[in-house]
Symmetry: C2
Subunit: 435 residues, 2 copies
């Protein structure tokens, strides 16, 4: 068989990492594959940019067709990101019989089914390890080595920007806005950070992981998504006093006939490993019925770690091709005809522990009134902090509840709002105590 | 293609876990494979034992030939353990064209090359994910998803017995012997615990991981192996005062033209994740040039977690067979003709930081003499603890050194022994500060 030829769409940060990985480790890669692979074409939409790598003349082009319609190309790596034109390019490449490797979580989470159906029809692979948790080999672990397990839960810290901001807020006692500023200056947050800090990026990733683990499709619009922009240093401080860290946690849980898929700031006990995942690092904690709890930790983003994941997929497809394998592992881990759409539980139905910070008028009997309303809705209190009043007008009351239904919490909070003892909106943070 | 048939050699703890995994998750396994697999024959050397699982009549046999020479069997799972007769059975099964899945770390570490050569000649697979770190998918991560990386180091906590004992000693301030007793009562340590507590089991595992990561053969006899039986609660206590935990660490490092492969009690800073791996859990920290530091954590032993790893391998081989793949991934991650024997650095040549606890006569000038000898051999001291004397005769002096060559440490300690100030053998524990 001749050299496997790769075409790359996108020559930004990750694309440059892929080129560096190809070049620097070419000898080792060939020793492992027993076969040559060649990065034959790279589409750079900015032909004038200096990417800091040396390439043979003719490799770089601005014409996407030279990759997606080039009969010599076996594997197309898509790193443009976003929905379009990435989707159209991928579909055309599939129609032309190319295998696809992509880091595009948004596209796979929202339009994955269309792409996968096209790929299955053509008998080509679509791999996207780099779309979730950067270099951490979580997707291949789910689809391959841990595939004899029924997975009951998946918990992830999947966005380096948010984790950097929360870590920094925790370490420095700072508030959100100045730390976001700093993250932007350091290149850890985009100029428009909305997708990251509002949890959308994390939601794309947990939608994909839940689908892979639970053998279901996940309607992305049904994924509850709440970001970190309202987290205050006061809440981080109270969390610390109670022995918790606040993380933007991606949660997927399987109840057999329905699943939970949600993203929100979450308090986790200091004693759990996810609480110690700091800075731009990512981690995923999977629980399978045989393997038990298993944690994978590493670089969730960045040129090199993402390139490692992309290259792992390229090498997997190359190994399929040179060993004669056809459709060896289903794209979503389950055979396409075995995937069913499990309903996602409404948020009102979830059971969680809750951190509630009330800002109340400073007068006797307030706690009794709050506790009364909570009790009425079967919510019992696990612990309470009521700091000494420093402000004549308002005082915080911080409660940690035992397990409660979210609908009951909402009802109780609505009732408490009517009592004329609350002077600012109540802060609610879910707690994941049962890791 | 007809149902893939599996034969199992060994119906002890892990074998029973494999049967349970086959049975309980049969539906999910088939949804993922798109194909039926069948556990057709199980060799139970104790035909009278009740394994707590229900099987069709005729499945269990005492005759190994019904598996290894049965033309209907495609994949043989070897769970007998030990060198013989496991090795002979595996070689015969290979000669008969069977693919092999084994959890046998001792056999693979010591006789792996012979088995692999036979398998390569027959074009069959040998997979052994379960041999290292139980359910943690570390071998497949190295061979597959992370395979575009050059690995510089691998650090592992790979033996649940040792980690349970050290964790318990740390938590309770107990000494080794009573905790070993407790571990034996709980079933976490064997009646003869030598292989575990003296580090032999860990050495088998790091020999395999180093070979996989660095593309080399590892002569097991060259692996420096020191167990935990001499660790005292006093040293654990001093480590704590200095901000360290003591773990039985497996270390593999790659210097390009030579490697380090060693197992010994090691102090690691509390701030590193490996310091927080407690009880019977295992963890492996790999560093690749692109992926960066990556940690995998989970159950390192036990019926179910080990079964998960065995079944992952069984499903991988099944996927190869049904997709038509031949020799898709080389058994040791590198093509057999590309594996070279990198020399293992002699212990005298390694560079480490060192914890040294001297037991000295209680008289002035002792520290100066020790420091003088260390200085003469270019060993500089990073920190020192000299507790107030409670015993009229002897006093401990605890030193942490900066990076030093082991040969220099040995020379300095030999010289200090001659000074007539040392009243008991000096305790040396290597320190891994640069994770």
């Amino acid at each position: 068989m001749s050299t496997i030829k790769i075409g790359l769409l996108g020559f930004g940060t990750v694309g440059t990492g892929v080129v560096r990985n190809f070049q620097r480790n070419a000898v080792t890669i060939e020793k492992r594959l027993g076969h040559k692979i060649e990065l034959a074409k790279i589409v750079d939409r900015d032909a004038t940019a200096d990417r800091g790598v040396t390439l043979e003349p003719g490799v770089v082009t601005t014409d996407v067709e030279e990759v997606i319609s080039n009969p010599e190309i076996d594997i197309v790596i898509e790193l443009f990101g976003g929905y379009e034109p990435a989707k159209s390019f991928i579909l055309k490449a599939i129609a032309n019989g190319k295998h696809i490797v992509t880091a595009n979580k948004a596209l796979m989470a929202v339009h994955g089914q269309e792409i996968i159906a096209a790929a299955n029809q053509q008998g080509v692979s679509v791999m996207f390890e780099a779309a979730v948790a950067g270099g951490i080999p979580i997707i291949s672990a789910i689809k391959e080595n841990l595939c004899s397990n029924e997975f009951s839960s998946i918990l992830g810290i999947l966005n380096g920007t948010c984790n950097f901001i929360l870590t920094k807020m925790t370490e420095d006692g700072s508030d959100f806005a100045p730390v976001l500023d700093e993250a932007q200056k350091l290149g850890y947050a985009e100029a428009d950070p909305t997708f990251d800090v509002e949890g959308v990026d994390t939601a794309h990733k947990i939608a994909l992981l839940s689908a892979l683990c639970f053998g279901t499709t996940v309607d992305f619009d049904q994924v509850y998504t709440e970001g970190i922009s309202k987290i205050t240093s006061m809440d981080i401080n109270f969390a610390e006093q109670m022995g918790y860290k606040i993380k933007l946690l991606a949660i997927g849980k399987n109840y057999g006939d329905q699943i939970e898929v949600r993203v929100h700031p979450t308090m986790i006990p200091n004693s759990y490993q996810l609480a110690e995942v700091n800075g731009v690092f990512n981690a995923v904690r999977l629980t399978g019925d045989f393997v038990g709890p298993t944690l994978l930790y590493g670089s969730g983003a960045g040129m090199d770690a993402t390139a490692s994941a992309v290259m792992g997929d390229v090498m997997a497809i190359t190994r399929d091709k040179i060993s004669g394998a056809q459709s060896r592992v289903p794209i979503m881990g389950y055979c396409a005809d075995q995937i069913k759409a499990l309903p996602i539980k409404a948020m009102s139905e979830i059971i969680s522990h809750y951190y509630l910070r009330f800002t109340t008028v400073d007068q006797p009997g307030v706690l009794a009134k709050i506790a009364g309303s909570l009790g009425k809705y079967n919510i019992s209190i696990q612990s309470m902090i009521q700091p000494e009043s420093r402000n004549v007008d308002t005082v915080p009351i911080v409660l940690m509840t035992h397990a409660a239904k979210e609908a009951d919490i909402s009802s109780a909070l609505a009732e408490i709002e009517t009592l004329n003892i609350i002077s600012q909106p109540t802060c609610l943070i879910r707690v994941e105590p049962d890791l």
